[in-house]
């Protein structure tokens, strides 16, 4: 079976979700990946959506984080203040799965405005939603985003959600409880923060992608790990499950 770059990205993201961990899921690519994980190797994965559904087991991909199928299949449905105050803020959710409109070398995320002028932006984006607190309070964060020099920028125009700030120690100084972004999974490969200085480094490429391609799709001089690995291609089972999940919808 052949596959698209988006399918490879979604499968790679699904694979990092394991066992019965609890995952706070944003809509779009993260939701597709989390649902794929639950339907393949991680049936006990607990999907948590900011609409208040905990342990949703949708049999189809929800278009929105508040689709009825999430509430109907959830272990619990709680109010939005309860979701943020009781479940997210104290660190009860292990993994936060986020997308981004812009991301920088320290994995800070922008989903607010493109352009330096907040009052007169070039592009007005949807805004923060639940992301700042997901980024601050989940045990760790995984970002799923297509890689391009427009998205991977040296400095984000607006810090909506804090990744690793300006480097080591920043999260601790701010009092953020979680470890922050540990993986950035793209359609080209995987980036991880350097253990010493927290700068995102390319550690893996997907099949058929070169490190040079990933560097060219990054708006800063992207570091490449000394030993690079290549992602295992999607299995037939993974692709079949993914396509069954997305159905007529695009896999994005």
């Amino acid at each position: 079976m052949t596959w698209s770059a988006d399918e490879m990205m979604t499968v790679a993201a699904a694979r990092v979700l394991r066992g019965d961990s609890r995952c706070f899921v944003g809509i779009g690519l993260p939701s597709t990946a989390a649902n794929l994980a639950r339907r393949t190797h991680a049936p006990d994965l607990v999907l948590v959506y900011e609409s208040g559904t905990i342990g949703a087991k949708p049999d189809r991909l929800p278009l929105s984080i508040g689709d009825g199928v999430l509430a109907e299949t959830a272990d619990a449905v709680v109010s939005v203040p309860e979701m943020f105050n009781y479940w997210l803020q104290p660190g009860r959710i292990g993994i936060g799965f986020l997308g981004a409109a812009q991301i920088d070398r320290y994995a800070n995320i922008n989903t607010t405005v493109i352009g330096d002028d907040y009052a007169g932006p070039r592009v007005r984006l949807p805004g923060a939603g639940g992301a700042p607190e997901i980024a601050a309070s989940c045990g760790e964060v995984i970002v799923v985003v297509r890689q391009s020099a427009r998205t991977f920028v040296d400095r984000v125009d607006f810090v909506t959600s804090v990744g690793h700030g300006k480097g080591p120690g920043d999260r601790e100084r701010l009092g953020l409880r979680g470890r922050g972004p540990v993986l950035v999974i793209t359609d080209l490969g995987v980036l991880e923060p350097d253990p010493d200085d927290r700068e995102l480094t390319l550690t893996r490429v997907h099949p058929g992608v070169t490190a040079e391609q990933a560097v060219a799709a990054t708006g800063w001089p992207l570091r490449v790990a000394a030993t690079m690995t290549t992602t295992e291609p999607p299995s037939e089972a993974e692709l079949t499950a993914l396509r069954a999940l997305t159905g007529s919808q695009e896999t994005t």
Partner: protein
């Protein structure tokens, strides 16, 4: 029928005035869309619109020129993309300039909690390190008097009018709803005046697991509006009309197609 239960047009005319701060809430589920369109029909102006997720109903109100300000935490067409009327207002001041006050979901939820609690502000561990506090005056650092930790304070939200949709009400105006309950309770209790539109009026409320009941005396008005949440949904009564959310992208994309839609609503 008690005086509390009135037709929608009457309730909106009575409760909502030009320049008011109005919150129509509903987190994907139970969004009072019909009430929003009644506000458009009545031609209200200069409203401060408050909503965590200004989606289609606020795109409609903004495009119709009802809003002067928007207080929000995520403005988009959920699962589809951008809100074009919102973007046109922010980027091009069309049909009128739109001032914004921007928060995160946790910040907005806690502002309603403070409002419903009769407190001046709420505290959360959020916003630290983000650029939001730089642009939003209603986000401020606060020091915990017990531990010394730096946290964030956000002021209470107390709208003039809070509007939500629910599954059903009884003849005394007691309202019952279930499923994704969002910030329904908080916005009703935080607002000076409140309106709940319901799918159905029943003699007695049948108990439902997980359901919330708001006593009639805690609300101002109830209106019976079957399908009043469309294209959002009311669990047990209707499904979310995902096709409509996708169709809205084309309707709202340019000013002319939006104007045609608007003429249909006003007709």
């Amino acid at each position: 029928m008690t005086a509390r239960i009135v037709p929608l047009a009457e309730a909106v005319a009575e409760l909502v005035h030009d320049g008011d701060t109005v919150a129509l809430e509903g987190f994907t589920h139970l969004i009072p869309v019909a009430a929003g369109q009644e506000i458009i029909r009545q031609g209200l102006r200069g409203l401060t619109l408050v909503r965590m997720t200004p989606d289609i109903v606020y795109d409609q109100l903004i495009g119709a020129g009802c809003a002067a300000r928007l207080v929000f935490s995520w403005a988009g067409n959920p699962g589809v993309g951008s809100l074009h009327r919102f973007r046109d207002a922010v980027q091009n001041s069309w049909p009128a300039p739109l001032e914004i006050e921007e928060h995160s979901h946790a910040g907005m939820a806690n502002r309603y909690v403070a409002g419903a609690s009769g407190l001046p502000f709420a505290v959360l561990r959020g916003y630290l390190g983000t650029d939001l506090s730089e642009h939003t005056a209603t986000i401020a650092p606060i020091r915990c008097p017990f531990t010394g930790e730096t946290l964030t304070a956000v002021p209470a939200l107390n709208p003039d009018v809070g509007i939500v949709h629910a599954q059903r009400a009884d003849r005394h105006g007691n309202v019952q709803y279930w499923g994704i309950t969002g910030v329904h309770k908080e916005v009703v209790l935080a607002s000076a005046r409140s309106l709940v539109t319901v799918e159905e009026l029943v003699d007695e409320l049948t108990p439902v697991p997980g359901a919330v009941v708001l006593p009639g005396w805690a609300l101002t008005r109830v209106s019976v509006v079957p399908g009043g949440a469309h294209p959002s949904y009311a669990m047990g009564y209707s499904d979310r009309d995902n096709d409509y959310y996708q169709a809205w992208d084309a309707i709202s994309r340019d000013r002319q197609s939006f104007q045609e839609w608007l003429a249909g609503v006003k007709a």
